[in-house]
Symmetry: C2
Subunit: 475 residues, 2 copies
């Protein structure tokens, strides 16, 4: 089906999150939803006004098909010229691309021969881990490596350090002149260190959209450029996001899928003592979405202060899980431990492969139930069985089903979960943008690294704590 004519296909089933299914103490009641409905409608109006005044610019990203055209052209130009691609970025600057390529690329795309692989091999340098960085530089062919450094400011310590290392390695391998053609920077269009360096050295650049937090950039060049280079249909992603935007326009908490999910999560946390929100796809390919969402949810909602300045210490802790694997790791706890989680399962209507389960040997009648079975069917039935078992133990859970795993569906997910998060922030009365809580740690890193201006903090950091005996050391 052409993306243009396709409508949103995600289905949300929240029956097992209701009081009817898991009891009044743990489930959301019709009264809960009635009570929160006016607040949802008010915040819907406020968010709309914010959008009109330029605050919620992430909502406009699906319209940027011209940028997508430009990216597709660039990707088409570089994909066959380079054997390897390194994305240098951390947090919002890499999680979206990792989720996208993880969902839509071949699971072992770096192992495929070049003619079967769509585009260069894909590496990410997010952590400044010397072992990972050294191994990456050993593994790639620097002479045919394209580097995409992603940082709005250029000041993010991890990205700046990793980029200095890779840039130097490129300079040594191919010389500074050739190196500049192997570097593309995604950064602020007007200002910042990386912008300045890019202009100075002549790198090709793509914009980090102004007025959008890092964790909302998956549908901008930040997420789309690496995706396109890896062969992803980025227009399809934007179309899926636009379709979800179109679907999620109602101010009614029961009609708007994003608002419904937000209300269910926040009500679970604030009225039914569920401080944790587990996202558990039943597909290896979608695990990256759970990880991407984990950042979005934590940074957006984890706030000390409300919009009015009172101390609220808000935020539900997001947890990523993977079905069926975590049935053998976490479900024991989720079923029998404290009843303190809302679990959102992600189901897949149709997997992209069908793998029949061969008949078991006649000597194994205990496995006779596999006869005529198929792996995707087993995996999906395990998901249904887990939902049923959780419900039986009064553990609230809901299921988001995607009919397929493709670029369009991924775009739907990204938009849905972003709008869910913005509404959740509104329901917590916190500002979902910004991350003021990480400043102290950043400053302490600067101090420990000896950055000038941070001398007093450094002295404080190096003072031995009083209770130095709380230390077990065999040496």
């Amino acid at each position: 089906m052409a993306s243009e004519n396709r409508t949103s296909g995600l289905v949300i089933d929240y029956r097992n999150a209701t009081a009817t299914a898991v009891g009044e103490e743990h489930g959301v009641s019709a009264t809960d939803l009635d009570d929160i409905a006016p607040k949802v409608a008010d915040e819907h109006a406020r968010i709309g006004q914010e959008h009109d005044s330029g605050v919620q610019k992430w909502q406009d990203l699906p319209d940027n098909t011209e940028l997508a055209d430009e990216i597709v052209t660039f990707a088409g130009d570089v994909r066959d010229r380079f054997s390897d691609f390194i994305l240098i970025g951390i947090g919002g600057s890499s999680l979206g691309a990792i989720a996208t390529i993880g969902a839509l690329g071949h699971p072992f795309r770096n192992l495929l021969p070049p003619d079967q692989r769509e585009g260069p091999r894909f590496f990410v340098l997010d952590n400044p881990d010397p072992e990972k960085v050294a191994a990456t530089l050993e593994t790639v062919n620097l002479e045919s490596t394209l580097v995409n450094v992603v940082s709005k400011s250029g000041q993010t310590a991890e990205t700046a350090a990793n980029f200095l290392v890779v840039r130097d390695a490129l300079h040594r391998a191919v010389g500074p002149d050739k190196a500049r053609d192997q570097i593309v920077a995604t950064t602020d269009p007007a200002e910042g260190l990386l912008r300045q360096l890019s202009d100075q050295e002549g790198y090709r650049t793509f914009p980090v959209p102004p007025g959008v937090d890092g964790r909302q950039t998956v549908l901008s060049a930040v997420g789309l450029l690496p995706a396109a280079i890896a062969g992803v249909d980025v227009h399809g992603m934007l179309a899926g996001a636009a379709a979800m935007r179109e679907r999620a326009t109602s101010s009614d908490v029961r009609e708007n899928p994003a608002y419904l999910l937000a209300a269910l999560s926040v009500l679970a946390d604030t009225k039914h003592h569920k401080p944790m929100l587990v996202t558990m796809p039943y597909a290896d390919a979608l695990y990256g979405i759970a990880d991407w969402f984990r950042q979005l949810w934590a940074e957006s909602l984890g706030k000390k202060l409300s919009v009015n300045g009172s101390v609220v210490n808000a935020g539900q802790t997001p947890i990523k899980a993977l079905g069926a694997i975590d049935q053998h790791s976490q479900i024991q706890l989720y079923t029998e431990g404290p009843n303190d989680k809302l679990i959102q399962l992600i189901a897949v209507g149709g997997y992209r492969d069908t793998v029949a389960i061969p008949d078991p040997p006649g000597s194994m009648p205990e496995l006779g139930y596999f006869t005529g079975g198929e792996l995707g069917q087993l995996l999906d039935r395990e998901r249904l069985a887990t939902s049923w078992a959780l419900t039986g133990a009064q553990r609230p859970n809901l299921t988001i089903t995607t009919p397929s795993i493709d670029a369009f569906a991924l775009g739907e997910f990204f938009y849905l979960l972003q709008l869910q998060t913005v509404m959740a922030g509104a329901l917590y009365d916190v500002n979902p943008f910004g991350q003021p809580g990480v400043e102290a740690g950043k400053n302490a890193t600067y101090a420990l690294m000896g950055r000038s201006g941070y001398e007093a903090l450094k002295a404080e950091l190096l003072t031995e704590p009083e209770n130095a005996r709380a230390y077990i050391n065999d040496a």
Copy 2:
């Protein structure tokens, strides 16, 4: 240093988890530790008695150097004969090997040319995900693939299904006679479906040790065989585990590192409202340990009933995180959100690579603090800065430092965290063995797959819930 003469080198610093550092409400006080000390000593004695009567057999695994010899011989025999290795197992049957090979193997070992790679490429089929399974079968060379199927009973649905698929693929590729020499089963030495099939078809087998839960098998053939095939020094792992066992013999909560960690975690949960335990290594290589520990902690402690049969719904939720990446994802929430976590950081004394940060261009004085710096130093200082910032926000945290990442240190970690978990179970008054909470879901899967004897359950499962309107579907 020869493993035999090496002693445990892990250092535990819990100063930032104490009341002195983060206040009485959130930190463990000296009185807390005094109060729990007699219980710890009693449980120490009880665990010792259980060991003498054969219940805590996992404690003996480090002594099985003969098994390690046998594994090393087998691995030496097969490593050069096979280009690919597929581990088929889920949960405790694969997480230990994934953690070990993830920590000690080259980060891109599957991409290395055969002469630089130690042993065959390593693939895991844990999930019965048709996309992952199909991609794996497309990617490996079945004519030179060794398959290790790991299941105590042979009845684990995911493993049985994946094994039937791979076995059939091998039969088609090389014929049944040759296939049997490409399959090695790790299973119960005496009984069960996989034992029966192995005897019938003539597979080489290694034992899943009787009397040991799946999540405690990393130091048995379950974990050691794949590790050895990937080139890991399995004797070193056992020596590290034995060294930790020797170090962790005191009944004193302040002297025994495993008991100290257990007491800090359980006190944090039960006395200081910290229902979550975050494990956050500052090394990509150690992320697998956090994932392995996540299963151990959740399945062992997440229990509905106490040993006396009363309903307790115990268990702290384990969360895996990765430094410094999650500073750009979770630290905002950990610092400003609800104060409901104990965070255990894992520090590395010396990384295996040193990567100098090149001097930044003169036009970027803001990055001047990198001058003379090194990536491992940056990463470790970020860890220290994060610990300091968390403490400043009264968020309790502790740090386990390993002097190095090697087989010995890994063995130490595995033993330490297992003993910590067993003692935590004792402090919660729950049985840390078994996983009764997953039976309902298993039975429901059998019912949905049409297994005979489960007809009534199937009918119940297929009954539409009453509140079917709680459903958002555009279709």
